[in-house]
């Protein structure tokens, strides 16, 4: 789709770059809608069309926001708020002033056959534990598609009424991705939220449609599902929709080419994956815990698994999924391609460790669930705290922090799409802000998720601003940050083999020892003269469990340790991870 520059441009940056208006190349059933056709200038649109274009643009659905197929010129050309097109109000967004909103996009209720709580139970806990936003994601299933997806909605709307000032509650579902794992799909609240989710589930859920097995045909069905979500937004049925892959390495069935395929099919819908899975209590040792694998990562390859994945991929490392925890691994191979793909951390809360509630007798059977789309409301149990459950309440342990321009549904979705996201466990940090800026300047710089364009030879620096945690977490201790790692990799461009899951140059380039430091910590790391395009990401830990990384000590000297089966105390092994910032030279 072409651009005629008929709309005003107003770039407040001082360096020149060529405008490569090759955005909008993503496949999608746009169908000639003038709102979506950016070759039609704003001035030619009716007011209601202009308003809709404005919303889609701010949400990152339209235009060349970072949610393109690539940060490289062949994809989206201009990569953050300051580099977007002139008709976009978001370029005037506050650069310092993001509200960092903690959330969780993976939560199950009594509408899941392996869960038990009311929506209200989760929302009141999440609200008390400090979450600003949350997504209800019951499993896709025949009963859910028929009954549960509708039955849960009044409960969600009631929770919005009661808790909406503190905690935003999205409706979503956990999609059985055809040919692959599970993933969160959720939409902006609105009058069609149930209709869109229900049609999506009936048409594209792997269990409902018997398309879970790995096959080329089923992989295509997943892509059509993403097309459906994109069309639901561009047609205005829902204001926004997005997808994140959940526990991606758990069973080895999300192959690298499938992940790349989702992202490339609908880069504004398929946004990322869980960097850390839920079920973080599953490694608490017996007899006072489940004594399983952290995250319930205790599987082995199956017939549906990608044969190229090593056994090391089926294990968590410091609570994080192998794709994310491996420096120079699968996630880095996507970032080195210039492919925006963000990580999150969630509870996957089904039944909570040491909770003593139970499903009500008589309304606790599969038959009852299938007939009613849910179990009965939980009741007080009579057997004491359930120590064999491996989940935490939303907000209790895992947090996904989103830099939003304001408190609101659309702003959270915009922040997620932009990749202004970092995650932590056990409330490790009080706050975090990461920027790339001209060296020695007072420029507020570019936040997480940005692709910074600069002249070759320009000197830049990375600034990591941390406020250490001064409040006890939900295990009643004040966590202490011990170290911060800067991870850097060369942007090498698109890979020829879509099943690539390594990248050779990415490694930890700097470790800051911050043991004993309290309060505000500002860490500055000079990036030298910009030459080849590269990216940065930041990681840190309490320093309690470290080991040489999978690609060796030369790549990651003190990375997360593989979690032992049977005893992985989640509170004595806390990490934070940020999403990346790219630096691209022109």
């Amino acid at each position: 789709m072409g651009h005629d520059h008929a709309h005003p441009h107003d770039h407040p940056h001082d360096h020149s770059h060529s405008h490569d208006h090759s955005h909008g190349t993503e496949p999608g059933p746009d169908g000639g809608d003038p709102v979506l056709d950016l070759s039609i200038p704003d001035a030619e649109l009716a007011p209601h069309q202009l308003a809709r274009r404005g919303f889609l643009t701010r949400a990152g659905i339209l235009g060349a926001g970072l949610a393109g197929a690539s940060v490289l010129p062949a994809g989206a050309a201009h990569a953050d708020g300051r580099h977007e097109h002139g008709h976009q109000p978001s370029r005037r967004a506050p650069r310092h002033g993001y509200a960092w909103l903690a959330g969780d996009h993976h939560i199950h209720t009594q509408q899941s056959s392996d869960a038990q709580y009311r929506v209200a139970d989760h929302v009141k806990h999440a609200s008390a534990y400090g979450l600003d936003w949350m997504v209800i994601t019951d499993h896709g299933s025949i009963a859910h598609a028929k009954i549960g997806v509708e039955k849960v909605n009044p409960d969600i709307r009631a929770a919005r009424e009661e808790y909406g000032e503190q905690t935003l509650v999205f409706q979503g579902l956990e999609w059985n991705i055809p040919a692959a794992e599970h993933g969160t799909v959720f939409v902006h609240p609105g009058s069609n939220e149930v209709a869109v989710l229900k049609e999506f589930e009936n048409s594209f859920d792997g269990v409902v449609n018997n398309t879970t097995a790995s096959s080329t045909a089923n992989e295509s069905a997943a892509l059509r599902g993403l097309d459906f979500l994109a069309a639901s937004v561009t047609k205005g049925r829902v204001k926004d929709a997005m997808f994140f892959a959940n526990h991606p390495a758990r069973k080895g069935i999300d192959s690298p080419h499938e992940i790349r395929g989702w992202r490339d099919q609908q880069p504004r819908i398929a946004l990322g994956m869980e960097g850390a899975p839920g079920h973080q209590a599953a490694g608490i040792p017996a007899p006072y815990g489940p004594g399983s694998g952290r995250g319930y990562y205790d599987n082995s390859p199956s017939a549906n698994s990608f044969a190229g994945y090593p056994l090391a991929s089926y294990v968590t490392y410091g609570g994080f999924d192998w794709m994310t925890a491996t420096v120079g691994g699968l996630w880095d191979s996507l970032l080195a391609e210039g492919k925006p793909w963000w990580i999150t951390a969630n509870s996957d809360s089904h039944q909570v460790y040491a909770d003593d509630s139970a499903r009500p007798v008589g309304q606790d059977t599969q038959a009852y669930f299938d007939a009613n789309g849910r179990y009965g409301d939980p009741v007080h149990g009579s057997t004491g705290p359930n120590l064999t459950q491996g989940d935490f309440w939303p907000g209790y342990y895992s947090r996904t922090h989103v830099g939003a321009e304001q408190f609101g549904y659309a702003a959270v979705m915009q922040g997620l799409r932009a990749g202004r996201v970092w995650v932590d466990h056990g409330s490790l940090l009080g706050s975090l802000d990461v920027r790339v800026r001209p060296a020695g300047s007072r420029d507020p710089g570019y936040p997480l998720g940005s692709a910074v364009r600069c002249r070759r030879g320009q000197q830049l620096e990375l600034v990591v601003s941390i406020v250490t945690q001064d409040q006890p977490n939900w295990a009643e201790f004040v966590p202490a940050l011990a170290k911060v790692d800067v991870i850097r990799g060369t942007v090498t461009g698109a890979v020829s083999d879509k099943d690539t899951f390594t990248t050779p140059t990415t490694k930890v380039v700097k470790t800051f020892d911050v043991t004993g430091r309290r309060g505000q910590i500002t860490l500055t790391y000079p990036l030298g003269r910009a030459d080849q395009p590269f990216y940065l990401r930041v990681r840190g830990s309490d320093g309690k469990r470290t080991a040489a990384g999978i690609n060796g000590a030369g790549v990651d000297a003190a990375g997360p340790q593989a979690d032992a089966l049977g005893n992985a105390d989640p509170w004595n092994d806390l990490w934070f991870y940020t999403n990346p910032i790219w630096v691209l030279t022109s």
């Binding site: 056959s113 399983s292 694998g293 017939a303 698994s305 090593p310 090391a312 089926y314 294990v315 005893n567």
Partner: protein, 145 residues
């Protein structure tokens, strides 16, 4: 299939289903292999050299002796190699909690038991620090309930 390799049955959804269906026939080594069409297939051979890479053994000479906590040295009396999934090799006296479920893999005709770290949560001096990588009761996929 290479010579000496027998295909006993196929079309199983999982390795566990295949093992339950196994009728006791075949040679000294019986394994599951994955196939794009037939999913899980049971194959058999008289020796491990005849089995393809990644064949997963559930019958092999001496397999019935493997239960309880064993030293690596005892496992090496039956298998060619024992190593952790990260490539490190445990000492001969290190202990492995077998969980009565030992499923070695074939690599270039050799039998290899891959381990993962294990911690039973106790401070017992003779506790096992490893379990076989494949678990007897992995957490099932939630949505298939």
């Amino acid at each position: 299939m290479s010579s000496g390799l027998l295909r006993l049955a196929g079309g199983f959804a999982t390795t566990r289903e295949a093992e339950h269906a196994y009728d006791g026939s075949g040679g000294a080594f019986v394994a599951t292999v994955f196939d794009p069409v037939d999913q899980v297939v049971i194959v058999s051979a008289e020796n491990a050299q005849q089995l393809p890479d990644r064949a997963r053994l559930f019958v092999f000479p001496g397999h019935e002796q493997l239960s309880g906590t064993l030293e690596v040295a005892a496992l090496l009396e039956l298998l060619d190699e024992v190593r952790s999934f990260d490539g490190t090799v445990p000492g001969a006296q290190e202990r492995v909690e077998t969980q009565r479920f030992v499923r070695p893999l074939v690599e270039a005709g050799r039998t290899v038991l891959v381990l993962r770290p294990y911690d039973d949560g106790t401070d017992s001096p003779d506790r096992a620090a490893h379990v076989p990588f494949e678990q007897p009761n992995p957490t099932p996929c939630c949505a298939n309930h």
